[in-house]
Symmetry: C2
DNA sequence: CTGAAAGCGCTTACAG
DNA sequence: CTGAAAGCGCTTACAG
């Protein structure tokens, strides 16, 4: 079962040195083509497998990247971050790197315990996927290795982050509603909850400002408590003609609630979401929404972290990844537009 | 930025040998308590981090486990395997191990390319999560390291696998329908598609047999083509009183279709699913279904692979993980039961 | 073109 | 209780 063929074994059989075997297998200069071929053949014949650990040892590099996801984003109905991780993991392979997932449980976050992968030098860099609390951000900053925040950022932090352009996406989709004749538009989301929700709100607000529509405080609807648990959304009376929801899941819940109350979507009011996740197509009618470019977020995160491993002084700041509007059936053009 | 404090650095400062430092930090015998404390203090003070790679080198162990998921199970609406991976990853940490995710893309599966983590000795064992094709199973078997199949098995393979007790779960939930007075019960699923669907069908069949209900071929309904793509389900006429669906997603789709056709669930017919995934609660009414014990599957997989790393000759065979019925509102008790 | 020597950071015998 | 030596499997720099 155990397969412990090393370069030395190959070398012995061919009466050459391990240096020569290393050069041959690594396609380096300084070995005759003939010998090189011979070595390569014997290697495959002997089922030789390269030992990355030895290389790691020499280079002082683990060739692993840690991906930290706070536990609370890994619930049954949330696969967004796992999905990004999946892409990260795949993209890392192009660099000869591998991704180690680390779910940060709430206890460790509370007690400010850094993950073991850090203390064991298991990783050369860390991607933090999903907002952690302030105190934890501070302790992350003390880690002496390259790090990237993905899908959130911190004002005080001198840390590079990769985020969706929430502001602009929300701005654009609100513009789209206004172009369709809407001017009573509610925003659904707890604007003190996360930076994403807040930024999406501000994009919505900018759109209103540009179109001289006054911001109506009664049309800012709360969707969750401070722990992020969804609460029942209070419908304003009278109803606005459209709702900008901070995410598809909330748009889905709102749709259900409106239908229960006898309203028809989009005839009686229009609804837009954000994310383009599973809830966007589960909603009926399917949601017009802003698609978050998961692939690109993973891509930027990976490229940035690799860059920082090569050059630790490299700074990226906040990198915005543009989303795009997906048009479906939840928006009604108002007559006379 | 670079932190390259080694045991040697600590040793030098204290004018002792690295051996002593190693013993102290590892809480081994043979260092005075006093010196041990001194070393430990200096270590934290100097921000020393243990280098796992060196240990890997010595032990010939990477302390990583590869988790291979075929690409086709990682679509937008499928987070089941990612979820199991998440648990695996967490459980591995108790052993000082880490999980490396490897999405097996269809091309590599077709061309029988083994993952790079194998050729680079990046992992000490492999968990294959989700059914791969026959030819690929064969090549997996040639890999010279411990391996476990999770959520599928192969008749010919002399490989250990951890699977949900599909047969028994389906048997039980069909029994439940019969206890509620149903005797015209359809099964929904392509019974030639995967071993899970097939086994669930057989559990359903066993329940019918035990209750002397003849199997009606017209009530075996196809839900997907040979590539696993969902197809429109043809409703039998007359409708049976209940449907046993091979998974929640199909139960969800079926529910929608029946409602479109003017039927009420569960008044006009009952529906049960399998998995207890997001679709079970998304369905309206929410589904009575068999919950797959994800945690336990991950747990068994991890324990087994660790056992096999210690003892490569260990065999487990097929390990069944029991599910449990979750009772919700999609089943109607027939009058006169 | 080929190889002897040294080193990456630890640990495991073994000796004192 | 403490440490010198050897080794895990490679690669780099240097010498021939």
């Amino acid at each position: 079962m155990k397969n412990n063929v090393t370069m030395r074994d190959i070398a012995k059989k061919l009466s050459v040195s391990t240096v020569t075997v290393s050069k041959a297998l690594g396609d380096k200069e300084g070995v005759s083509e003939e010998l090189k071929a011979k070595i390569k053949n014997l290697a495959t014949e002997m089922n030789y497998r390269y030992n990355t650990t030895a290389k790691s040892m020499k280079d002082g590099l683990s060739y692993n990247i840690g991906v930290i996801i706070p536990e609370r984003f890994t619930g049954v109905s949330q696969s967004f971050y796992l999905r990004i991780y999946q892409h990260i993991s795949r993209l890392l392979e192009n660099y000869g790197y591998y991704g180690i997932l680390n779910i940060l449980n709430s206890e460790d976050e509370e007690q400010l315990n850094l993950p073991r992968i850090y203390y064991e030098k298991k990783v050369d860099g860390i991607i933090v996927l999903g907002q952690v609390n302030k105190a934890y951000i501070d302790i992350i900053e003390t880690m002496q290795l390259p790090k990237i925040f993905t899908d959130f950022y911190d004002e005080h932090a001198d840390i590079d982050s990769v985020i969706t352009d929430n502001f602009y996406g929300s701005y654009e989709i609100t513009n789209y509603l206004i172009q369709n004749g809407h001017c009573e538009i509610a925003y659904v989301g707890n604007i003190h909850s996360t930076s994403s929700i807040q930024d999406r709100f501000l994009g919505y607000y900018k759109s209103l400002l540009e179109h001289n529509i006054p911001l109506n405080q009664l049309l800012i609807l709360n969707d969750r408590d401070d722990k992020g648990i969804f609460i029942d959304i209070e419908l304003p009376n009278p109803l606005p003609t459209a709702f900008v929801c901070n995410c598809d899941q909330v748009a889905y819940l709102l749709t259900e609630k409106l239908i229960e109350n006898g309203f028809q979507i989009p005839q009686d009011c229009s609804i837009v979401g954000f994310d383009n996740d599973i809830y966007a197509t589960l909603s009926s009618p399917p949601l017009t929404t802003v698609e978050v470019d998961i692939e690109q977020m993973a891509n930027t995160s990976v490229n940035s972290i690799m860059e920082k491993i090569k050059n630790p002084d490299k700074r990226f700041g906040r990198v915005l990844v543009q989303g795009k509007i997906i048009y479906r059936d939840s928006v009604q053009a108002l007559i006379g537009t």
